[in-house]
Structures are given as C-alpha cells and as structure tokens.
C-alpha cells in the first residue's frame, strides 16, 4: 500500500492572523508583563556572591577539610596512631604509621603516636567516617572546602598540615540562620 503524507494529518490548528487589536496586544502587553518581573527583581538586589571575595557560609556540621587536634593543656597530640580512621575510611585515603613514645620524645598522651599521618585529599569523599571512628576525638572534619591546588602531590596532607590551625577562610552560618 502506498503511503501518502496527507494520511497522517488529522487536524491543523492555527493561531489568529496577525494584525488588528489582538496582534498589537500580543506584541506589547506580554513584553511589558515580562519587564514588570525583571524590574521587580532589580529592586530586590543581587542574590549571587562575589566568590572568592565573598563566600557562602556553611552549616556547623558541614564536613570539610580535616583537622587534627592537640590537648589544650599539655599540647600533646590527641592522636595515638591507632589507625582506626584508616580502617573506617571507605576511600582508603588515610595512611598512619605509628611509633612509640619515649620519655625524651613524648608526642601523644598514650604509649604510641602517629609518626606519619597522611590524608590524600584527592581521594577523600568527605564522608566523616574517620571522625566517627576516632576513639580520642583527635580528628574532626573542619569547615574549609577550598582545597584546590596545582599538583596532586600537594593534596596529600601531612600530619603537620592537619595539626596546624587552618586559616579560617570559610564563614560559618550562625545559629538559626
């Protein structure tokens, strides 16, 4: 059976013909309605931020760059190098090599300390399991999310980097905000 294109066409709907009053309304009336919305937002002011000069504040439980902590009174590291964070880490980005404290070199409060503590930030998925696994609250997730760098090796954070007070660049959202 030969196919003729007209067989598929059931009905053709068409708009009104241009011209006349209806045409004039469609040209100006609808445009003015759109302009009203635009001008209305203009009065409200901008909602975007001038990143990186201005930053979005984060919530207190936001999981950003990790921090290692020291005891405030003694200055000893809280981390005892137990490696539980490395065990919990689903991305396997934490590496801990422990060593024994000696009286001359007391680094942490327990018998052992982390001689090497590295987090590979290129792999980290910021799940926070390390923080949950830590029996001494030695590692916590900070607020910093600006972690970009030029080389991959710079993104392996060492113990010294994690222990140092991070430059608090990220504003925190205040309570109830």
């Amino acid at each position: 059976m030969t196919w003729t294109p007209t067989q598929d066409v059931i009905e053709v709907q068409r708009g009104p013909d241009p011209g006349g009053l209806g045409g004039a309304y469609r040209a100006f009336g609808e445009t003015l309605r759109g302009l009203k919305t635009v001008l209305g937002r203009l009065v409200e002011g901008p909602v975007t931020l001038e990143y990186p000069e201005d930053k979005t504040p984060v919530y207190p439980r936001f999981r950003g760059r990790h921090k290692l902590h020291r005891f405030e009174d003694t200055g000893l590291e809280k981390c005892v190098g137990c490696s539980l964070c490395a065990a919990a880490c689903p991305a396997e980005c934490i590496r801990v090599v422990a060593a024994e404290n000696t009286p001359d070199n007391q680094v942490s409060a327990g018998e052992r300390y982390a001689a090497v503590y590295e987090i590979n930030m290129t792999r980290c998925i910021f799940c926070g399991y390390c923080e949950m696994a830590c029996p001494f609250d030695a590692i916590t997730m900070g607020n910093d999310y600006e972690l970009a760098d030029y080389t991959r090796s710079d993104l392996i954070f060492t113990k010294e980097m994690l222990l140092a007070d991070p430059v608090e660049r990220t504003p925190l959202r205040s309570e109830g905000e």
Partner: protein, 848 residues
C-alpha cells in the same frame, strides 16, 4: 607405627546429634557440630588443658554445675547445652570479670583488631560495663626480655605463656608471682626471659599483654597482609607467615602451624631474623672490585665482568653453595658448572665427600623417618648434633615425645646437650670420636656386653647374632668404648634403652660425616641402623640434620662434587670443599660463592684465606658484605633474601616445601635464578630462559625421585617425596655393609670439639632485635682440666694448635667431660674454624 585410629562417639549439643572423636575435649568436639565455644586458655599444643579462664562453661545434662568444655572429654550420649540462659549469664559474667581490671586501651594496644578478648567480649559479653571503680594498675610496659614487652594490666592470667615456658620450651623461667588480683607473670628474680623460643609466647597470648618489641606499633591488622613461605634460616624449615606492609617490608613472622614440620612453634631466630630483609647494610646493587675496593656498578657492567671472569677460568672454576639456596638455584648452578663451564667442582657440604653408595642408602625411603614419626616413636636417639642450636624446632619435638609419652631418649653427643635432663641415657664421648661411639653401640647391640668375644663359642654366637641382623660380621673385637672416650656403662645403658622399644627414630648430625673418617662414621651409622632394625619397622628411621638449611635439597639436585641430580654418581668426581680451598690458585682459577661464606662456616679457615687470596676471580652472590665477600670477591651480585625467593626447598625428612615471594626485591636486586639463567645464556651462547614454575618442573623432571611432583601438589604444606610414586625411582641399593674396623687411636691431650650456636649466624649481625644475642667466643672446659691448668671461670684464655690460636673466655661446665674443650663455630671473630681441619685434634689451652 601409625597413630591409632580414632573412634567416634555420638553426643547431643544444642539439640543436635553430633559425632566426634572419642576422648576429644568438648570444645573441639563441638566444632564437629559447628558450635563455637569461646576459650582463652585452651590450646591443645600446650598439652593438658588447665581450665584457668572459665570462658568455656557449658551445661551438661546430669551435672548440676556448669562445666568447663575445654577440660571435659566428650562421652557417648552426653547432652550439652551452650545457649541456655544459665550458660549465657555465666559467659557474660566471665567476660565482665576479665574486663574488670583490663585497661581497655585497645586503640593503643598492638593486639587490637586481632584480639580474642575483643572478639569474645563482642560475641559473648554483655555489651555494657557496670564497673565504675578504679582499676588495678601496674607499671607498663616493661621489658620481659629485649624481644618481648609485657603489659601486666592487660593480662587475663590464662596461663598460656607460663605453660609454654614450663612444658614446651622447658626453660622453666616464666612463673606466676604474687596472689589474687595482684598476680602477674614474671621470671623468678626479674631476670630477662631469654631463651631460644621466647618469641612464641607473643603469638600465644590471647590479649595484648605480651607484645613483640620488634613489631610494637608497626602496623594494625588491617594495614598488613600475610604471606606464607618457609623460613630458610636453619634446617628445620618451619612454615612461617610473614606479615607484610605496603608490599615491601616484612614486619613480623608468625607460625603457620604445620604439624608435619614445626608443630606451630618458631625459634627466635626465625621469628625475629626477618629483620635482615630490610637491614640497612644489605647489598642492593651489583658491585665490582675496583682498585681494591668494591664499588657499585650497573647490572650490565657487573654481568659483563662476571661472564669474562668465568669464561676465562672455564673448567677451572669451582663453586660453593650455601644452605640458603633453593633447589632451583642449586640445580641451575650445578648445571652452569657441569654443562656450561665443564667443571664438576661444586659442593654444598663443608667437610669432604659423601660416599655415593652411602648417600643412596641414606636416602632410602624405609630408612628415613618423618618429623611426625617422633610423635609415635618407641625410642629416640640423638647422635652428634645439638638440636637446639642446629634445628631448634626438632628439639621441641623431641621434648614433646619425652614429656607426653615418656619415650626413652638417648643422647649421644660429645658436648653436653640441652636434652640431657630429658634423656633416659646419656652417652658422652670425646670430640671427633663419632665413628667409635657408633661402633661401640653396634658392638653392644650385637654382642651384648663384650665378654662374649673372649671365648670361641662366644665369638660364634656373635657371628650368628650379626647374621640375624643381616650383617656379614660383627664389629671387630676392640675396646670401642675406650676408643670413643666413653664409659662402657654409658654404652650399655644407651643400648639397653634402645633395645626392643619399638620403632626408633635416629636424629644425627651431618657433622659426623665430615672429615677424613667421615665415610667410616657413616658406615658405622648404617650398621647401627641395621642393628636397630630401622629399615624394617614402619615409623622408624633416621633424620639427618644438615649443616645448611637446605642441605638435603642441594644434595639431591646435584650440588655435590661426586653426585649429580638425583644422587647419580658423577665420573670423574670433582673436588670437595676442603680440596677446593687447597686447589685454588693451582688447578682452580676462579670460585663462585653462592650465598656461601667459607671464612665463617667452613673448617680450616687458614686454608680458605690462602685459597681465596690466590683465586684469580671470585664471583659472589651475597646479601651482605661478609668477610669472604668483602676481602676477596671481585664481582658481587646482590642476593635475594628468603622473603623474596620463589622456589622449593627440601626438609631433612624429604618434604619438599615451597618458598614463596612475600615482598618486592629491594633496590637493584634481581631473582637469582634469572641471573643464573643469564649467565648460562651468556656463557653457552644458547638463549635460555624460564619462569620459576618452569624451573621447578625442569628440576623435578631431572631428579628421578622428584619426578611428577608439581607445585600444586606440594602446596602450602609440602609433600614428602618418599610418600609419592616417584620414590620408586630412587636407585635401589642394599644397605652397604662396611666391616667395622676400630678407628685409629685418638690423639693425646685436650681434644677440641666445636659447638654450633644458633646465634653465631649472620642474623645476629644484621637483625637489630637479635644483635644482643651475638655470642662471644668462649671455651667450655671441665672444672678438672681448668683446675689443672690454673684457669678460672671467665678468664681470658688461648686455645692453640700448631701455632694458630683462638682467644676465648673460659666457661667451666661441670657436664663437660675431662679431656674435651669446646669452641663456638661461626662467631664473627675468633672463630673456632681457625683450629678445625676435619680431623680429631688435640689442642693446647693456656691463659692469655
């Protein structure tokens, strides 16, 4: 004698009918029904259960109180409940009780993650603590020994370590001190717990109370991988599991528990000797001697030099193979020597040739006992070897046979042995008189007390007795015991202990076959084997303790001057090691040292010094700059450690075992088989290459009685070739008969014997943890001789023969018989090998 067949009984556990071997403890029997009963103190390897921890309480129908499953044997029709509320509350209570004083410092504790206390608290504990009172405190951690640290707070007093020390190692050092909750494990007066097996208590401890100093805080269980291999540091060839971190560092060695080899124990050398694999002073790149000093070079250059040196020497090359070499390496090396260079001078023994006929006889399957035969033997004879120093794990095995089954043990050694206190009879003889003492035993076993030989009728009956044993003639009529320097009563007692006691296992040291009278000594040993009927009974036989870890394997793959692969006689025979030393510089131009250090291990040090000096070219495969290498090697190729090798080794009882690569090779180190193949290719001009598995195949195909053994069959537990069909391929030889003629009269004066030492080895030089054990040369003397010479204990003395002397510290031992003096073999300096030359020697001892 096969172990008696097990009978099974049926009992009910948790409502299920289960059948288990009769007499087994409920803990083990429950496993047949897939029921797990938690235990801390129960460890069948340690002997009788003690029921100390109370963790295994179960309810048994008909008994009002809960019973310990670890010390209750299963009986027919027993009804056991392990899941009732009563049992549960008891288990909760025990866990709570054990945790009362436990510090719960799991994040810091080395055991965390592989700790039975953690697992059982999690599985059977109540899950919450009610304890708020202060805990008991001890000072921690304390060094129990330089190798083991003890944390007494963590101890749950399970008795395992104490039982090990008391009943397995039998050093009786560890005890429980004080009472009640202040009980602690310690030594009598706080002395360090040092012994050849001390490291085992670390593995036994079910909590983190005993930790290894070397492994302390190095890794957590999830950081590491286990890699099974064989420890090739001594002939015991224990099965070990090396703990590897980051694929490149061995952090620990654990036992792999093979009842046919090691029974699950390790000596401290095996347990801590792994440190040599990552020692800083290890050779990791090839070196070539340049202007008198070894200088690191590229592989290309070193191989070029090696090929040039060997090519120039050609058939005037000799090779020494060290005991750490695998069968494949030995096989390739003898191939390189015999087929490529055309030189038969390859030796893995230290003290002269082994007679081909005797070698075949010693290899006979009916004459060789398996290690497990010690568990069923009727009597054990240890001849001419100090097991604790030469094959420590067999020492434990002999102790086990004596302790558990009261097997009569006869110790026949010239030096007082650590097994003496366990022995039913001790036969002490003069150093070097092995042949005479074996002859004395044969004469005693054949002829009774020697009086018979004095009459004609007596002699006739002697002949008859000898013939009944299949001997052509009884041993010659001589005062054997006097020639041996032993008392006739001791000989009689020893023979009496052995006679008619069932299957006998003889453990003998390869050393007695060394030297000029070695052939006669082995002849006497074979006569003894005949007199004891070792070739008739199932479960009896001999185990030879070689001087090198893989001595048996190297012999069987052809690393002997007169025997090729499969113990096939080679014509004309090559030079033996002592002959090589003399011929270097004359008929021999170059020497290959394959993981061998003749200056340290081989007798007659002066001859080796002279020989190495005169050798035109010395190629060494070595992992450390040993004295021989440092002073004389022209080209040094870095050797692999046992943790990096791939291949097979043969246990003294004929068990082939696989050595597996556990870690990556450090630095520039290459597989030695690969290097040997490259040498073969370069020197023969024909390209030759093979993968490790192909090499094993090649080796097993060439040795007739290894034929058909595959790596899969050998597997992780090893396979004795005597138990396979291939054993029939060993050429059948009758027991060679040598008429026992009395040996020549021994020299007059103080006779020198060597004392092998477990710690006089490279491991104590390069493993940091073991360094404190490196022995200083000492001369063991009887008090009588010392008194005559005016020497006091601890004096500096000189032991001298023909102008050569060794300085030593005098050690007076009451057990040393007068007329003998013993020096340690293989020490770093003042080595006893300076005075030995394979013959029985009299020495002069004087104050230095």
């Amino acid at each position: 004698m096969a172990p008696p067949a097990e009978r099974f009984v049926t009992f009910e556990i948790d409502g299920r009918e289960v059948s288990a071997p009769e007499g087994s403890m409920l803990v083990d029997a429950a496993k047949y029904g897939d029921v797990e009963i938690p235990v801390f103190c129960y460890e069948p390897k340690l002997g009788q259960p003690v029921g100390a921890c109370r963790m295994c309480l179960v309810e048994i129908e008909g008994i009002p109180k809960l019973q310990t499953a670890c010390s209750t044997a299963v009986k027919d029709g027993m009804v056991v409940v392990t899941t009732s509320d009563r049992v549960k509350s008891a288990q909760n209570a025990i866990v709570e009780f054990l945790l009362v004083n436990h510090p719960l410092d799991c994040p810091v504790c080395d055991k965390g993650g592989e700790c039975p206390l953690q697992d059982i608290s999690f599985g059977w504990g109540a899950g919450r603590s009610r304890f708020i009172e202060p805990k008991r405190h001890f000072k921690k951690p304390i060094e129990l020994s330089p190798l083991v640290a003890i944390d007494r707070e963590r101890c749950i007093l399970c008795y395992r370590c104490v039982r090990f020390s008391q009943e397995i190692a039998e050093d009786y050092q560890l005890v429980f001190l004080d009472r009640a909750d202040h009980t602690y494990v310690g030594t009598h007066d706080g002395r360090p717990y040092v012994g050849p097996f001390s490291g085992n208590i670390v593995e036994l401890c079910p909590v983190g109370a005993l930790t290894s100093t070397a492994y302390r805080f190095r890794a957590r269980p999830w950081d590491i991988e286990g890699s099974g291999t064989i420890c090739t540091l001594c002939p015991s060839q224990c099965n070990v599991e090396l703990t590897v971190r980051d694929d490149n560092t061995v952090l620990r060695a654990l036992a792999r528990d093979n009842v046919d080899v090691d029974d699950g124990w390790l000596c401290d050398k095996g347990r801590f000797g792994y440190e040599v694999t990552s020692a800083r002073e290890r050779i990791t790149e090839p070196m070539v001697r340049d202007a008198g000093a070894l200088r690191p070079v590229s592989w290309e250059l070193a191989m070029e030099e090696a090929v040039r040196g060997l090519d120039r020497a050609g058939e005037r090359t000799a090779a020494l193979v060290g005991g750490q070499a695998t069968n494949e390496e030995g096989f390739l090396l003898q191939f390189l020597m015999r087929s490529v260079l055309g030189s038969p001078h390859v030796d893995s023994r230290r003290g002269g040739a082994l007679d081909p006929e005797q070698a075949l006889a010693l290899a006979r399957p009916d004459l060789s006992a398996a290690v497990a035969d010690l568990d069923t033997a009727g009597a054990v004879l240890v001849v001419g070897t100090e097991l604790v120093d030469e094959a420590p794990i067999l020492d434990l095995r002999v102790r086990k046979a004596v302790r558990r089954r009261h097997v009569p043990l006869v110790v026949a050694t010239s030096r007082p042995s650590s097994l003496d206190p366990n022995a039913a009879a001790v036969l002490r003889y003069a150093p070097g008189a092995d042949e005479a003492v074996l002859g004395a035993l044969v004469a005693q076993l054949v002829g009774g007390d020697g009086e018979r030989a004095k009459t004609r009728a007596g002699r006739a009956s002697l002949h008859e007795a000898a013939e009944q044993l299949g001997m052509r003639r009884p041993p010659a009529d001589a005062d054997w015991s006097k020639l041996a320097g032993a008392s006739a009563d001791d000989v009689r007692e020893a023979a009496g202990a052995l006679r008619g006691s069932g299957p006998i296992v003889v453990i003998w040291g390869e050393r007695l076959s060394h030297g000029e009278r070695g052939r006669q000594a082995v002849g006497a040993l074979l006569a003894l084997a005949r007199a004891l009927g070792l070739n008739t009974g199932d479960g009896s036989g001999m185990i030879e303790i070689p001087t090198g870890a893989n001595g048996r394997g190297l012999r069987e793959v052809g690393c002997l001057p007169n025997l090729g692969p499969g113990l096939a006689a080679v014509e004309p025979p090559g030079l033996t090691a002592p002959e090589i030393a003399g011929a270097l510089g004359d008929s021999l131009a170059s020497l290959i040292l394959f993981q061998a250090d003749p200056l340290r291990t081989h007798p007659d040090r002066a001859a080796w010094e002279r020989g190495l000096d005169r050798a035109g070219f010395v190629l060494a495969f070595s992992d450390f700059i040993t004295e021989s290498v440092g002073r004389f090697a022209d080209v040094v190729l870095p050797a692999e450690s046992y943790a990096e090798k791939e291949g097979t080794v043969t246990h003294p009882d004929g068990r082939l075992q696989r050595v597996r690569q556990a870690i990556g090779r450090p630095g520039e180190v290459r597989a030695q088989t690969e290097v040997l193949l490259e040498l073969i290719t370069e020197l023969s001009g024909a390209p030759f290459s093979a993968q490790p598995a192909q090499l094993t195949r090649l080796m097993t195909d060439t040795v007739p009685f290894y034929r058909g053994l595959t790596l899969d069959e050998i597997g992780g537990r090893g396979l004795r070739w005597q138990d396979t069909d291939a054993a029939g391929q060993l050429p059948q030889t009758p027991l060679p008969e040598m008429e026992l003629e009395p040996p020549p009269e021994p020299p007059e004066g103080l006779r020198l014997g060597v004392a092998p030492s477990l710690w006089a080895a490279p491991e104590t030089d390069h493993a940091a943890s073991l360094r404190f054990l490196a022995p200083r040369q000492q001369a063991e003397l009887s008090a009588e001789d010392a008194g005559r010479l005016g020497i006091g204990s601890g004096d500096e003395i000189e032991v001298a023969v023909n102008g050569t002397s060794v300085r030593a510290r005098a050690a007076l031992r009451t057990a040393v018989p007068p007329g003998s003096v013993f020096l340690i073999e293989g020490t770093n300096d003042e080595n006893a090998t300076a005075l030995t030359n394979g013959a029985s020697r009299a020495v002069e001892v004087r104050k230095a």
